[in-house]
Subunit: 201 residues, 4 copies
DNA sequence: TACTAACCGAGACGGTACGTCGGGTCTTACT
DNA sequence: AGTAAGACCCGACGTACCGTCTCGGTTAGTA
């Protein structure tokens, strides 16, 4: 995987059409049957490709899945910036509610859960995830928080990386552990508490 | 699973020694080879048990693994209460740092990651996890926060369930997604920010 | 293979119906596609059997094929004796002509050629062939020659094993090497020459 | 195969060094791993040649093997005549014993067995074998028998082709079917019986 | 002397089959 | 009835080769 850069050097002969067919098949299959029941054999069959063509370029089905996520995000052009109405509180509530909606939609839930399973059990994949998917997304979030901090809405001493974890971590954790419903009551509660703190004043 | 309660009627003839051998084998195996490579066949072989004995009492390897966790926690008797020195801030910092240490230890990391994988891909398991493992742990956490709230250290209007998510969610999420190091700098930062909020004042 | 005797001891649980289906599939397939293109996968599929069931009991496709021959010969009851009209010359000519006919018939030619390929490339198989198929057939031939010798039609000093090779060897060799047509002109010529010798008198 | 004759027109540009490397690799490989395990891929790799170069000039691995035999026999110049001491009986015994020795030597046994497997399963190859290898060898044998016949040692009415089959057939058949040891006791017995016949006199 | 076409090594490609592993079911014999 | 053992059908694994197909780079013969 990560065949999207240095590729020209060592893989000039690689078939681009096969690569795309494989990534698309993986995307479709993970949605249809889930991560554990998605097999390399099925990916190859659906893509009209020999199994060896998958094994030649990817070390595991997790890696194929990962690349299919990267490919999807590349097509989606530059990652959209978070909304900025000037009011960090309402913006965050809107973003978190939207995220919760997405996580409730099986269309997104199933593949993302699959990706998380893959990452959770493969260090290499986790590192690539960090570099190619998490970092850009974190950058987008950081930019919005930076703007709020610059505007004096967030504490000037605040470590924005911690802030990001604080805001999105609880939601993602509840999603992954299925430990409760994901709705705006919950997400609004998070934003309120995180912004103002939980200590009595 | 959790076959030790109401089901006692139809399982009077069940071999307790086989059940224990199976749970122990599962515990050992998940540590040695991880969740995905742990097979029911291997569990049965190591436990000196027929495969059918596993299939008779558990619906999936995730369920076996889950029961082995429940069994471990039962042996550890009543879940210890969180420390209460009267200072909620230092207590939380201590607890989170200890949790981080645990999550850094492969002895705990591997099986817990396995359990999370199992939960993430199985609603039934998630429900049982919530009932038998998460709820008690959450209760312990809630009791400490309740004490702090009663002592006037936490905001009186605070929803303690959200507070728990706020405090532990970021750490667990960073652990599961392997998105950064788990150390006391991080955990202290979380506690500080959560307690005081991130909004400029 | 050779599972037809001691079987009861170590394979009481073996499925007789699967065994028969496998042997029959092998017989059919070798006729339809030949030895080299007959695959274990196809045998299993046609027999409605898991591949493992073949691998469990036979070491190679040659071994399966061999057993299917043994099974066919068992069903054919006791090996028929060669005709004995009292005239060894005409009897041998009749038998050799019949054998030539058989070898010209693809129904027999293809599987027998397959069996020979298997034997030629596998010592173990050759030994089993010798014990289970060649020896009984040779015994039948020897009995007819013995009768002729007893009747004073063959040289009393003659080693019957050599005689058998002399009579059948040339025909079988021409068949295997495809070095000429198999017809009664040829077989009669063999019998004449072998009986009377080729030395000028 | 036998591509060195009429085809010269369209093969002027053919690389002779590649051709030789392929034939030599085939010879070596068949000795090392046997016919069934010899692959075109391995031949190409060992010869330092692209697979296409083999597929361009030969239709099957059997054809390559066959050509490697032809090449070996060409190097050995004109096929040596059989010894002629004037005594056909002792000459035949000597030749058959020498042949038996050769067939007992794995150096010769393995490749020749491979060639026979190839022939046995490929009509085209069998025809070419007949033309390029069997016919010349048969001619050599016929010449020696002709001399004996001319000298009055063999029956004047004898069909020499049948005689050749009678003399060499049993030995070759025993070799191919591995149905007994190849030694001079056996070969002498054949010669004696074939020369004098087996009929009582 | 350059042109150009075939040949060459290399190796990716869509496939088929390999021999193995494990899933979940079923049967046998023992407790 | 529950159990250890293990055969069974099945599906997938990851690998080896099949025969075909580019890809650049020689290497002849032709212009």
């Amino acid at each position: 995987m990560k065949e999207t850069d240095g590729r020209s050097a060592d893989a000039r002969r690689r078939s681009e059409s096969s690569r795309l067919a494989i990534l698309e098949s993986a995307t479709d299959l993970v949605r249809e049957v889930g991560y554990e029941k998605m097999t390399i054999e099925a990916i190859a069959a659906r893509a009209g490709v020999g199994k060896q063509t998958i094994y030649r370029w990817w070390p595991s089905k997790g890696a194929v899945l990962f690349d299919s996520f990267v490919a999807m995000n590349e097509k989606g052009a530059e990652l959209a910036a978070l909304p900025d109405t000037g009011d960090i509180e309402s913006d965050l509530k809107a973003v978190l509610a939207a995220t919760a909606d997405e996580l409730n939609d099986p269309m997104y839930d199933v593949p993302m859960r699959a990706l998380n399973t893959a990452i959770s059990n493969d260090d290499t994949l986790a590192a690539q995830y960090a570099e190619w998917l998490e970092t850009p997304m974190r950058e987008v979030k950081r930019r919005r928080l930076q703007a709020a901090q610059d505007a004096g809405q967030l504490s000037p001493a605040l470590d924005l990386d911690i802030a990001i974890d604080l805001i999105w971590g609880p939601l993602l954790n509840r999603w992954l552990q299925r430990s409760g419903p994901l709705n705006s009551t919950y997400t609004n509660g998070i934003v309120d508490s995180v912004l103002d703190g939980i200590r009595a004043r």
